[in-house]
């Protein structure tokens, strides 16, 4: 899902851990220390919902989102284009016979969620949503209550081992069979220091042949420098600063996968439904692609 604003990775603020642990443990947050909830800070997940025309957001989110729209007027369009890319990609995967989906950075479940698309065509599809934003996770749980082919896990993309080892993930998905991993509109919240390529490699090594990786992220290819700077400024107010990347870098993230046609492109250009819908594609700011694990 996503544009510049999805459920992102909460940055590593000290949070609760240092206070609770007071010199007993190392500085690293222990597994059992909870996240803090701060609804006074804009959430990238709820900002994204706002771009998509939803009302699952608070005044702080709307203020930040409006500032983003002021800086980058096509932000809502970017969100829509990215969401449409997700829809087409899931449709493609369902047609390719994929029945297991791991959506990391799933955000607020607004319209057109992965399980809605997949289960409409293949009711036996199983989907695990992963997000680090506790509000997004709570909301997802409410929406998905009663759907026993879905699960919601609160975890951070930067800890792929924890995601892969999570009991709910293990219970829902069979990693001996192909799984589609969706990392859509979330990688731009992963700093270079957090080694996104390594994160993706960890995920890849858990996958069976025939699995897929779907990636999209904000790009600075051909962008105006001022516009980018302003967008980055907006996201500094959230827990998730922005890390835009170019096409070459995004292509590199598919290391180990075979890119499906048409490769890494502006998201509206990825298998458009109508020729018109791919016009002015670079305005969408998002690059995306789908890769298949061979072997």
């Amino acid at each position: 899902m996503a544009s510049l604003a999805k459920a992102g990775q909460n940055t590593r603020r000290g949070g609760v851990a240092p206070r609770v642990c007071e010199g007993v443990r190392s500085l690293q947050r222990p597994d059992w220390a909870p996240e803090t909830i701060d609804v006074e800070r804009p959430s990238v997940a709820r900002m994204y919902d706002y771009y998509l025309g939803g009302s699952h957001n608070f005044a702080v989110d709307r203020a930040a989102a409006r500032a983003m729209v002021a800086a980058v007027p096509q932000a809502p369009l970017m969100a829509q284009a990215n969401r449409a890319f997700l829809r087409r990609a899931v449709q493609f995967l369902t047609d390719a016979g994929i029945r297991q989906f791991l959506d990391i950075g799933s955000g607020i479940p607004t319209v057109g969620n992965v399980h809605e698309i997949a289960q409409r065509h293949a009711p036996d599809s199983r989907v695990v949503y992963v997000d680090v934003d506790p509000v997004a996770v709570a909301h997802s749980r409410e929406i998905l209550a009663g759907n026993d082919r879905t699960a919601v896990v609160q975890e951070d993309l930067r800890h792929p081992d924890r995601i892969l080892g999570h009991p709910d993930v293990r219970a829902m998905l069979d990693f001996s069979q192909p799984v589609a991993v969706l990392v859509v509109a979330v990688l731009h919240f992963v700093a270079d220091d957090d080694r996104p390529a390594e994160v993706l490699r960890t995920l890849r090594t858990a996958l069976a042949p025939g699995s897929y990786l779907v990636l999209s992220q904000a790009s600075d290819d051909g962008r105006d420098e001022t516009e980018r700077a302003e967008a980055e400024e907006v996201y500094r107010r959230t827990d998730n600063p922005l890390w835009v990347r170019g096409r070459a870098e995004l292509t590199g993230f598919f290391d180990g996968f075979e890119l499906v046609d048409p490769g890494v492109v502006w998201v509206p250009q990825w298998r458009p439904e109508t020729p018109e819908s791919a016009e002015d594609a670079e305005r969408a700011v998002f690059l995306g692609g789908v890769g298949r694990l061979g072997g």
Binding site: P30, G53, H56, V111, G112, P134, V137, E142
Partner: protein, 568 residues
């Protein structure tokens, strides 16, 4: 035709979770509904509401989508569908009004629903975070307050609970009890089975203890020491019952890895009113009481006794003050005459240590020597006595021949200590006291050892010419074998035999004494009788053939100048 134009108009106004074809299909159906309504008589405005609801439900739900929908319907619907009616403009206006009204209402409802749902999610997340925080705090607190091996409360938690129990409504007559429990000789379990099995035996013991004393708090203080807190005790009996339950629970052997590990425990029990006590007081008292239980042989409990504790504490303080007393010169010697029964001459004197305690006044040896022996301070104190006695004795000169020898007690620890011989030799050299003017008194128990070392040391001392006396002969084992092997010069016969001489009918004591004397003389030893209090006793002893006497009859212990006065 119209539906396609409508789809084009609303595409891109918001995210639509459907393909363009699906959108056209939907809008075609809605177009048919609208057309039917415009033709029907009477005009059913509910159709307008229904179309609006469907648009919003299909996520064609934005202000832009409404504007474009109104525009495209107004501009093209009548024309594209060839609708003909006299009042078509009127009907269209009313129908569009209904669509706009229904749409605005549906959009508002949707917004409110979404707001409500996100708020509920935020609240849920908040509650979960708080719960997780509490859980993690509880977990951290548990770790901080429990022993990781046994999972029993640790010293920290125990201290908190004890403080709370002692604090609170003092003066209300509330009582509190402690059982301080220690496994007996648990080190042996570790030594013979290894620490892993030792640890598992501890875990098993802890589990049994916890079950046995429920609902009372049992904490592990470390090692093999546990403590049970009995809050709201109604009397000593309550706490004794807890201690007995604990001991009973531990009495069955624990099977660890196929080994039968048997442990017993000792328990120190304190039970008292909350008012006027403190956690520290209670713990100290429980600790002392545990010590009593241990020294009574273990595998049982002891009850706190304030009087005994007071005595021991005083002794403890006294013992701790010995080194400083030595440094400040608070110790001094008195001497008691050892008098010849043949001619009444002064043969020697026994040095007796006194302590001029700054607070307690002059203390006799029986109030501090025992302590010094327990703590090992006797080595330092005994060394001082020996040196002081030699230093003073060397200055005594007699007008009539040989000055008296000085007799000094040697404690067991002093005799067993390596280096005794060198020490005495150096002392004699330093003071210039002739060896034959020094007598060392040892007790029978000193010789009750399998070790050769003390015997060798005594022999070396005797070879120097020093007199060796057996003190209190007749009260210990009176092993005659060592009289054969040891270089003993003299037997000092315990005062209780002499006391018997007072009663004319007590012939047994006299016979024992007579036999001892003849035995000693046969072995070439002299005999000194202790505790001679009367002239009659002295007379009998002389008649028996005893060589010398010591006791009040011959002179009480006195400062050295009294001795000097007697020999000049």
């Amino acid at each position: 035709m119209f539906a396609r134009a409508w789809a084009k108009a609303v595409a891109g106004t918001s995210y639509l979770p459907m393909t363009h074809a699906q959108l056209e299909t939907l809008l075609q159906r809605l177009t048919n509904l609208l057309a039917e309504a415009l033709r029907a008589e009477p005009l059913d405005l509910r159709v307008g509401h229904r179309v609006a609801d469907e648009l919003v439900a299909a996520h064609i739900a934005s202000a832009e989508a409404l504007g474009r929908t109104v525009e495209v319907i107004q501009l093209r619907l009548v024309r594209d569908l060839d609708l003909v009616a006299d009042d078509i403009e009127d009907r269209m206006a009313r129908l569009l009004g209904a669509v706009a009204t229904g749409y605005a209402r549906a959009l508002r409802d949707r917004t409110l629903d979404e707001q409500e749902s996100i708020r509920r999610a935020a609240m849920t997340a908040q509650a979960e975070a708080e719960q997780a925080l509490r859980a993690s705090e509880a977990r951290f607190r548990h770790q901080a307050t429990h022993d990781p091996l046994t999972d029993l409360p640790n010293r920290t938690l125990f201290a908190e609970r004890l403080a709370a129990a002692v604090d609170g409504s003092a003066g209300s007559g509330r009582r509190v009890g402690l059982c301080f429990l220690d496994l007996d000789r648990f080190k042996r379990v570790n030594d013979s089975f290894g620490h892993q099995i030792g640890d598992r035996a501890l875990v098993a013991a802890a589990r049994r203890l916890r079950r046995a004393v429920e609902p009372h708090l049992v904490a592990r203080l470390g090692g093999d020491a546990f403590v049970v807190l009995v809050e709201r005790s109604t009397g000593t009996g309550d706490v004794v019952a807890v201690a007995e339950a604990a001991l009973a629970a531990l009495s069955e052997p624990v099977v660890v890895d196929g080994h039968d590990v048997t442990v017993t425990a000792s328990v120190g029990i304190v039970e008292r009113r909350v008012a006027g006590t403190s956690p520290d007081d209670l713990m100290r008292a429980a600790g002392s009481t545990l010590h009593w239980a241990k020294s009574a042989g273990g595998a049982g409990w002891a009850l706190y006794d304030a009087e005994r504790d007071g005595r021991e504490q005083a002794r403890q303080e006294l013992s701790a003050a010995i080194p400083a007393g030595l440094e400040r010169g608070e110790f001094f010697l008195d001497y008691q005459p050892l008098t010849s029964l043949h001619d009444g001459s002064l043969l020697g004197v026994e040095a007796l240590v006194r302590w001029r305690h700054p607070r307690l006044g002059v203390l006799r040896p029986d109030s501090f020597i025992g302590l010094a022996e327990e703590t090992g301070l006797i080595v330092q104190l005994g060394g001082w006595v020996l040196a002081e006695a030699c230093r003073e004795a060397v200055g005594w000169t007699s007008a009539s021949g040989q000055p008296p020898y000085v007799s000094v007690n040697l404690a067991v620890r002093q005799v067993r200590r390596p280096g005794l011989v060198q020490e005495v030799r150096a002392l004699l050299r330093r003071t210039g006291l002739p060896p034959n003017r020094l007598q060392l008194e040892i007790t029978e128990s000193t010789m009750m050892t399998t070790s050769e070392e003390p015997v060798r040391a005594l022999r070396a001392l005797a070879d120097l010419g020093i007199r060796i006396a057996i003190d209190d002969f007749g009260t210990g084992y009176s092993n005659l074998a060592y009289l054969r092997d040891l270089p003993v010069t003299e037997l000092k016969v315990a005062g209780e035999f002499v006391r018997g001489l007072r009663a004319p009918e007590a012939r047994a004591d006299e016979r024992i004494l007579a036999s001892l004397v003849s035995l000693a003389h046969a072995l070439d030893l002299t005999v000194t009788a202790e505790g001679v209090e009367t002239g009659g006793q002295a007379e009998r002893l002389r008649a028996i053939g005893c060589d010398a006497g010591q006791g009040w009859h011959f002179g009480r212990p006195a400062p050295p100048d009294h001795i000097l006065a007697r020999i000049r």
